[in-house]
């Protein structure tokens, strides 16, 4: 085993699991960057908590992908030995932490989706995905509650916090369209009821988000241009830097066990 990148045979199901695993890992990693630097100790705890949940979800999804792919890969090979173009996560989750408002709004947009998503996925005909969903749903319920509360506090707090929260909403909005994106690879899985059609969650997501933003006295950007590309490896420039940090040890010590 060298420190070069692995190759992955991306069947529809493997690709599907990797995409969600990458979402969870990258967002979890971003949250972990806060550890020791949060605005209050309670938030050091809370952000780490969410990060741990997400890294846990990533591990289960990677392990499932490895089992389905059956090609000698495992959670760590997926996480540490794929390059930026092999990563399949949403552009939303790789966006830098920025200030606390940006981290919270990113979490809120993601969790508002993930919470409904995992609930729906509990009905998957794929037993493993259904089991992962059951566990993840409990976690995401906390994530959406925690991030919603902060969106409201920041939006309806001081003029400065309102401005920062609104900037975050405006800047991150363009990355929310990708939450609902599907492609040919997904279509068969949806038809077989192994996974849900995210389009079915759009109305609920919009309700949740507009409701919370309204309570937070924040303006909702409405219909506008949406970015995409993460699902097929066309990332922003931010992900490469994150990966050079995340993967540095595995890349520098080929074949070692840790």
């Amino acid at each position: 085993m060298a420190a070069a990148s692995i190759s992955v045979t991306e069947s529809s199901l493997v690709l599907y699991a990797l995409r969600r695993a990458d979402d969870a890992l990258i967002l979890g990693h971003r949250l972990s960057e806060w550890c020791g630097h949060a605005p209050m100790m309670e938030e050091d705890m809370a952000l780490a908590n969410m990060g741990l949940d997400l890294i846990g979800q990533a591990r289960e999804l990677y392990s499932y992908a490895a089992k389905v792919e059956d090609n000698g890969n495992d959670e760590d090979r997926y996480a540490y030995l794929r390059d930026v173009r092999q990563y399949r996560n949403l552009l939303l989750v790789e966006q830098p932490n920025g200030d606390f408002a940006r981290t919270i709004v990113r979490q809120f947009f993601y969790s508002a989706f993930a919470d409904a998503y995992w609930r729906a996925m509990m009905g998957s005909e794929d037993a493993t995905l259904a089991a992962i969903a059951a566990k993840s749903e409990k976690e995401s319920a906390y994530h959406i509650r925690h991030s919603s509360e902060w969106v409201i506090r920041l939006g309806d707090g001081t003029p400065e916090s309102h401005r920062r929260a609104q900037d975050a909403v405006d800047d991150l909005w363009a990355f929310t369209g990708e939450l609902f994106h599907t492609d040919d690879s997904d279509a068969g899985l949806i038809a077989d009821r192994l996974v849900i059609d995210p389009e079915s969650l759009r109305a609920g997501w919009t309700d949740t988000v507009t409701g919370i933003l309204r309570t937070a006295t924040l303006a909702c950007p409405g219909k506008s241009w949406m970015q995409k590309g993460g699902r097929s490896g066309n990332h922003s420039e931010h992900l490469g830097h994150l990966l050079s940090e995340l993967q540095s040890l595995q890349r520098s010590f080929p074949g070692a066990t840790w």
Partner: protein, 312 residues
Amino acid sequence: ADKSARFEARVANEERIEPNDWMPAAYRKTLTRQISQHAHSEIVGMLPEGNWITRAPTLRRKAALLAKVQDECGHGLYLYAAAETLGTSREELVDQMLSGKAKYSSIFNYPTLTWADIGAIGWLVDGAAIMNQIPLCRCSYGPYARAMIRVCKEESFHQRQGYEIMVTLSHGTPEQKAMAQSALDRWWWQCLMMFGPPDGESQHSDQSTRWKIKRFSNDELRQKFVDATVPQSDYLGLKIPDADLKWNATTGHWDYGAIDWQEFQDVLAGNGPCNRDRLAARRKAHDDGAWVREAATAYAEKQRARRAAVAA
């Protein structure tokens, strides 16, 4: 004087003193200093290990390290809560640390250079901390004793995790083993210093012992640590960086070499490799977070006003 005698009698009798009980001002002050210093150490201690969360070499290690650092934050929180029962607010205590007035454990003024340092911190630093802290589970002050019981439980879990990292590295590639040895070389003496100055030079010990805050001398605890650690190091196949280390059949203990107390004093005086970086990082987190805390306060006040308006 009556109160004082009764207090001393209760302590001597191994009873727990609780927040609302009468206590001497010096007891309150000593404990406030010790508990808050302990809390600061947990919080500053997040930084050297936090430095490797984003680079942990496997997802399992990453999750374990993140959880560990989170635990430290939790320890900090309930130690501040214990200190607050003595009448000083967390905010005030934190300000003392940020201004450099209050100390935290000097061990966190050393850098984590490689992944092996994460193993060494768990194995040695947490190991030394546990030696110091287990007697505190029977401290005369109730809230501190109870906090310590919980802290010690989690710390021993961390200590085992750290040791396991060292086992993996020292059984790994030659590069990994060298990394492990280098970490032991760099952390060993610093850990011995964690027990504080040699007996006789320690300032607060006599009274603390009488008050059942301190139950073993610095040198006793240091010896316990050395005795416990030498066989572990042997198992790892690593060499403790002390030419004078040898088994003393007469005493039944490991004799160790002279500690460089000048270095201890230097680091305490602010000249360790990371003193500036650590304080700067905590201050930055505090300053950058000011607007968030203000927003939370402003929102809470608005909500209170709204509820009051509805009630009226």
